[in-house]
């Protein structure tokens, strides 16, 4: 029997952490009670992207988009929408309601309208635990086409022609990379899926692994066929338990159907996939460190050349592709290079997924055609900055990227334009920074991360990142001089040019780009001894203005008891004792506490 409605429950990790886990049970309970259980199909899907507004329930055929759903809401959805056919308007995602109270279908919602999904084509639409659903969405047909109709060389040519570039950040043409490994003769070659997503705040790879694991397996197998590898590894961090579970299940199902194993589709091609768990070191996303980790060594980078395509895992030619790259491959193989080329720009074909975060209304995952402007992503899709604050910059590429200032928001998102703007594509982190932020502080945040994540092998990264962080601390504490800033810049340039691997080479990028665009903010810290963003504690003071109504809340909440004053009288802060924690400011009901 065909169901009359499909209810999709987002079960991505973000929604699960917001309480989506019990929604299915609730649905089952109420549908049973209403005796319509057999008419409704419940599907637990992967991430639908708009994580800020989760958990989501999407009801088809209408495509009604319910947001911020709690278990208590399920009863109403079942009774009203599924039983009586009346959409529960108060639970529909805000942007999906027009001013005339018309309910927009999912793809009409502003957040999704300018998006274009290739890598995440199935995320949020299919049940990742069911291989049949993936197959129904043309899954494994790309592999079939490659194996049955094309030679490995033709697959590589198709991939080169498609113009797909590495989505892990480097942007190296995937087909060209495959070609290197194809041309290196060896008795054994390997393909590896780099699922060691490590940028703070980026989670597109996790979403794909959880929402559409078969696309990764298929992509890996097409890559294996192309270069002549019979073994693939998926290197995934142990912090992604759901992704690991979905992958394991997907591999099991694919093996049962003979899609992984010997003589796939009756051809000579045999392939096996193994999952390797990483302990979560950022550097293990760097391909040589990743290889070392799979080999059982310490996750430390190695010198390149030789590149992995020549001498990789256990000394054999190896191709390492990122999750998002691999997710694109089945679609390209099935639909053709020409189809893929229709999206994006001349040198930047296809789409890119970004983790939109920071000071933004609609935080979550967005997939846009390359060439879309940053402004479109932030203001159109992302819904702008909360509280009508002004945008100061947008940081792309996470700790390896840089900040792009407001006046460059109209540049199209392309590998080259972002580099020209002093940043990089990176794996897709996109952090929006508003006017209340301090650039020195943001640099400290990223450097703190790279200091922690440096493997410790080469001198500039091991020692240099630490010294850069210390210099930022000097600046932030007001002890710095203009010379400190120059020193910092010189050191940053040196670390960039002489580090062994990508981690060290990119670690100074936040500093260099911020110095480029926001040098005046750094100078304010050392010359005027002020923090324009009001963030650096050593440079700010808390004062109570005469707006104070004497409610005593601030005094009660001060952890060091440095606020004095009697009821209904103006309170004062003892500056010598204040630790600048901001607790008073947070509790003041009349915004009487200011920082200078």
């Amino acid at each position: 029997m065909l169901e009359r409605a499909h209810v999709l429950i987002c079960s991505g990790s973000n929604c699960v952490s917001r309480g989506a886990k019990t929604l299915r049970d609730e649905f089952e309970e109420h549908l049973d009670r209403l005796d319509i259980r057999s008419e409704i199909k419940l599907v637990n899907t992967g991430c639908v992207g708009l994580c800020e507004q989760g958990p989501f329930v999407i009801v088809y055929p209408e495509g009604v988009f319910y947001a911020q759903i709690k278990p208590k809401h399920i009863k109403e959805i079942c009774e009203e929408h599924l039983y009586k056919g009346r959409i529960v308007e108060k639970l529909v995602f805000n942007d999906a309601l027009t001013e005339t109270k018309e309910v927009l279908a999912l793809d009409e919602v502003r957040f999704y309208k300018k998006q274009y999904k290739i890598a995440m084509r199935n995320c949020g639409f299919i049940n990742p635990d069911d291989i049949e659903e993936y197959i129904a969405k043309d899954g494994y047909r790309g592999l079939g086409k490659a194996l049955l109709d094309m030679t490995p060389k033709e697959v590589i040519d198709e991939m080169t022609e498609s113009g797909l570039r590495g989505r892990g950040g480097g942007g190296f043409p995937t087909g060209v990379k495959w070609g290197f490994a194809y041309n290196n003769d060896s008795d054994q070659k390997y393909v590896i899926c780099n699922a060691d997503e490590g940028d703070p705040g980026a989670f597109m790879d996790r979403a794909i692994l959880e929402g559409d694991p078969h696309s990764i397996l298929e992509g890996l197998m097409i890559a294996g066929y192309a270069i002549g590898a019979s073994k693939g590894y998926i290197y995934v961090r142990i912090e992604y338990p759901t992704a690991i579970e979905k992958l394991k299940n997907a591999i099991k199902q694919a093996k049962e159907l003979g899609l992984i194993g010997n003589n796939i589709f009756g051809t000579d091609f045999s392939f096996d996939i193994e999952i390797r768990l990483g302990a979560g070191a950022f550097v293990c996303g760097e391909e040589t460190a990743l290889i070392a980790s799979i080999e059982g060594e310490r996750g430390m980078s190695r010198n390149k050349p030789p590149f992995p395509a020549a001498k990789g895992l256990w000394g054999k030619p190896t191709i390492i592709n990122n999750v998002e790259t691999l997710a694109n491959i089945p679609a390209i193989m099935f639909n053709g290079a020409e189809w893929f080329g229709r999206v994006g720009t001349d040198k930047n074909k296809g789409t890119k997924v970004f983790s939109l975060g920071g000071n933004i209304v609609n935080a979550g995952l967005v997939e846009v055609p390359l060439g879309t402007t940053l402004r479109d992503v932030i203001y159109d899709i992302g819904g702008g900055i909360p509280n009508n604050k002004a945008l100061k910059a947008v940081q792309t590429g996470g700790p390896s990227g840089g900040a792009i200032p407001e006046h460059l928001l109209d540049i199209p998102i392309e590998y080259e334009t972002l580099i020209d703007a002093g940043s990089m594509m990176g794996s897709g982190g996109m952090v929006v920074i508003d006017e209340d932020s301090c650039m020195v502080d943001i640099c400290r945040f990223y450097l703190d991360f790279t200091v922690d994540e440096s493997c410790g092998k080469c001198t500039p990264c091991r020692e240099g990142t630490k010294k850069m962080l210390e210099m930022l601390n000097i600046i932030s504490s007001g002890h710095g001089t203009l010379e400190t800033i120059d020193q910092l810049e010189t050191l940053a340039k040196m670390v960039k040019s002489s580090s062994l691997c990508g981690l060290g080479q990119a670690a100074p990028n936040p500093i260099l780009s911020m110095l480029d665009h926001f040098r005046d903010e750094f100078e304010a810290h050392v010359v005027d001894k002020t923090c324009p963003g009001g963030v650096c504690k050593a440079l700010i003071n808390f004062f109570i203005t005469d707006k104070c109504i004497g409610c005593t809340k601030c005094a009660q909440n001060c952890p060091v008891d440095c606020i004095s004053g009697t009821i209904k009288q103006l309170h004062t802060i003892d500056q010598s004792a204040c630790i600048k924690c901001g607790a008073c400011q947070n509790v003041c009901p009349v915004d009487a506490i200011i920082t200078t």
Partner: protein, 585 residues
């Protein structure tokens, strides 16, 4: 080999295709700075000091492993490169404890040399208000090795050397990033780390982060104590290596100058190391004869390789019954000094201090074994390495190279124990033991000729007739580590009566105690080979023996031990080894 045509600093040159940029530049006469690279041992590109600019390549490239391509344009010096080197040196300096005057590597520190060359200002290390300096950790639990994180620059050479030469991976990086330090895994002490004290890590360290456990101060105290008689036992290799620390070329022989120096330092007398070796081999030969007559478990194993006994105790305890119980030469010599010669010289044996100078740090550990003493007196009180001895000379203001050579050491004991005939210092254990056994059995001494084994390229075979039997002997050569020796040994099904680990033949000049040459010298010259050659040459003008039952040895047996293998000889000249646990057990 194909050649490639490249330009370095605008000068065209043609070099073999397999050269690296560093090698090509160095052959042109450029001295490329480096702290981590050591050819074939550590090629990890970690220190980032050997950077060069290559046209059309992004960023600076490390030249140490950079493969060459035809037409490559390389620049080894520019402001960018120089600034990069200086800043990286500043970063390394920021965590380094600069007490150069009190450092073992004062004259051979690769970091200090580069700091001098580039005139580096220690901007971070001197500003402790703003910049963090890592805590110094000293791991001094081993009898032989001391690890000092305050000196370590994390070049990783020791880690690689440990891996290659022992395959035991005792040393590795702990923690990571800025907190990284080198040591045994999981915070274990060196004492129970499973280390065999082969000294390879010390030989490759560019600074003094790993060094022999210092004992110079103890020797000085003994020398200053007027109630003590202090006897020195210098091992033969000291004469051909110690001068390196005084700036002499590799292999310079200063035996004559040393003969003067012992007295100048205040040593009361000098004992002949070789006499100790004579008795040690004699006891081993006697044991061999005994074993062969009793059909005890074969093969009888021997080697003088650094770490040999420690390896068997910790990793191959099943073989403990296959090795000789005869003590090493310097301990035999020490025991002879205290229990035989002291009385003859009118010394109180309890007030006699014996100092051995050896090229190997594992001997420090040996001297401290409880079995290496008799009636409460240690056979050897202090073991110092050749380079420690050089430091002692410097400390006492003795300009070794300026001394007028003397043909023999001074002293009453020295005049008794240094004879015209000498045991060849580089003689193999098998050869010495079997030839001596022939002597003991009053049989003809035969030549021992090794031929390559047909079964395994790493083995050479020989046979020898002893006591009416044909003895099959194997020499396992070309093995890099003791672990590999046992692998090869276990892989051959053939039963040999006697097996020697032959790569130990250079054991006289390796083991972490000889002066340390900078990496460029280690790469460019066969340091071990040149030293071994010098040791060979050092006996050219002497009467060379290949067996150990010398006249002096025979006198001592007649006079003191009564006969070979006597109860007293067992007590004084033998030790019982037992299995030893380390943390993994």
């Amino acid at each position: 080999m194909k050649n490639v045509k490249i330009t370095i600093n605008g000068i065209e040159t043609t070099v073999p295709e397999n050269y690296t940029a560093m090698r090509a530049a160095e052959e042109m006469g450029y001295n490329i700075p480096r702290l981590c690279f050591l050819k074939d041992i550590n090629e990890t590109s970690a220190c980032r000091l050997c950077v060069v600019n290559v046209k059309n390549m992004r960023g600076l490239k490390n030249s140490c492993t950079l493969a060459l391509q035809d037409g490559m344009e390389i620049e080894t010096d520019s402001k960018e490169i120089r600034d990069s080197i200086i800043q990286n040196l500043q970063l390394l300096a920021s965590n380094h404890v600069f007490e150069c005057w009190a450092c073992d590597r004062e004259t051979s520190c690769e970091l200090l040399n580069l700091m001098r060359r580039y005139d580096v200002d220690n901007v971070f290390g001197e500003n402790l208000r703003d910049f963090f300096k890592k805590d110094r950790q000293i791991n001094d639990t081993s009898d032989s090795i001391l690890l000092d994180s305050g000196k370590c620059i994390l070049c990783g050479r020791c880690v690689s050397a440990c891996k290659q030469f022992t395959e035991l991976n005792i040393l590795d990086f702990n923690e990571r990033g800025n907190e990284t330090y080198v040591g045994p895994a999981l915070f274990h002490s060196m004492a129970d780390s499973g280390c065999i004290e082969c000294g390879k890590c010390i030989e490759v360290c560019p600074v003094a982060a790993i060094k022999p456990k210092p004992e110079v101060d103890n020797v000085l105290s003994a020398l200053e104590d007027e109630t003590k008689k202090v006897i020195i036992i210098p091992s033969p290799s000291v004469a051909v290596t110690v001068a390196e620390d005084f700036g002499a070329k590799l292999g310079a022989n200063v035996e004559g100058q040393l003969n003067e120096a012992y007295q100048l330092l205040g040593f009361d007398d000098v004992m002949n190391y070789s006499l100790g070796k004579d008795l040690s081999i004699i006891e081993e030969s006697n044991e061999l004869i005994d074993r062969l007559s009793k059909d005890e478990s074969t093969p009888f194993l021997s080697s003088n390789a650094p770490g040999w006994m420690q390896y068997i105790e910790q990793y191959e305890a099943d073989y403990l019954s296959n090795v000789t119980s005869a003590k090493p030469a310097e301990l035999v010599a020490g025991a002879l000094v205290k229990h035989y010669f002291a009385e003859k010289l009118g010394y109180n044996k309890a007030d006699t201090i014996v100092v051995a100078v050896v090229p190997r740090i594992d001997r420090k550990h040996d001297a401290k074994r409880s079995g290496n003493s008799y009636r409460g007196l240690a056979d050897v009180d202090h073991v110092i390495t050749t380079s420690e001895f050089a430091r002692l000379l410097k400390r006492q203001g003795i300009d070794l190279l300026a001394l007028a050579p003397s043909s023999k050491p001074h002293g009453e004991l020295a005049s008794k124990v240094f004879k015209e005939d000498v045991l060849h210092p580089n003689i193999g254990f098998a050869e010495a033991t079997f030839k001596t056994a022939s002597q003991l059995l009053q049989e003809d001494v035969q030549e021992m000729t090794f031929t390559p084994s047909k079964e395994n390229e790493k083995i050479e075979e020989a046979s020898y007739h002893l006591n009416g039997k044909k003895i099959s002997i194997a020499r396992i050569s070309h093995v890099k580590s003791i672990k590999e020796f046992f692998r090869v040994l276990k892989a051959v099904n053939k039963t040999y009566d006697y097996v020697e680990m032959a790569s130990s033949q250079n054991s006289n000049v390796v083991g972490g105690g000889s002066p340390i040459q900078p990496s460029k010298v280690q790469d460019g010259f066969n340091v071990i080979g040149l030293r071994a050659e010098a040791l060979n040459d050092s006996v050219n003008d002497k009467e060379i023996r290949y067996n150990c039952y010398s006249e002096e040895a025979s006198n001592i047996y007649n006079d003191f031990f009564k006969h070979i293998g006597s109860e007293l000889a067992q007590d004084l000249l033998h030790i019982q080894y037992s299995p030893r646990k380390y943390y993994k057990d």
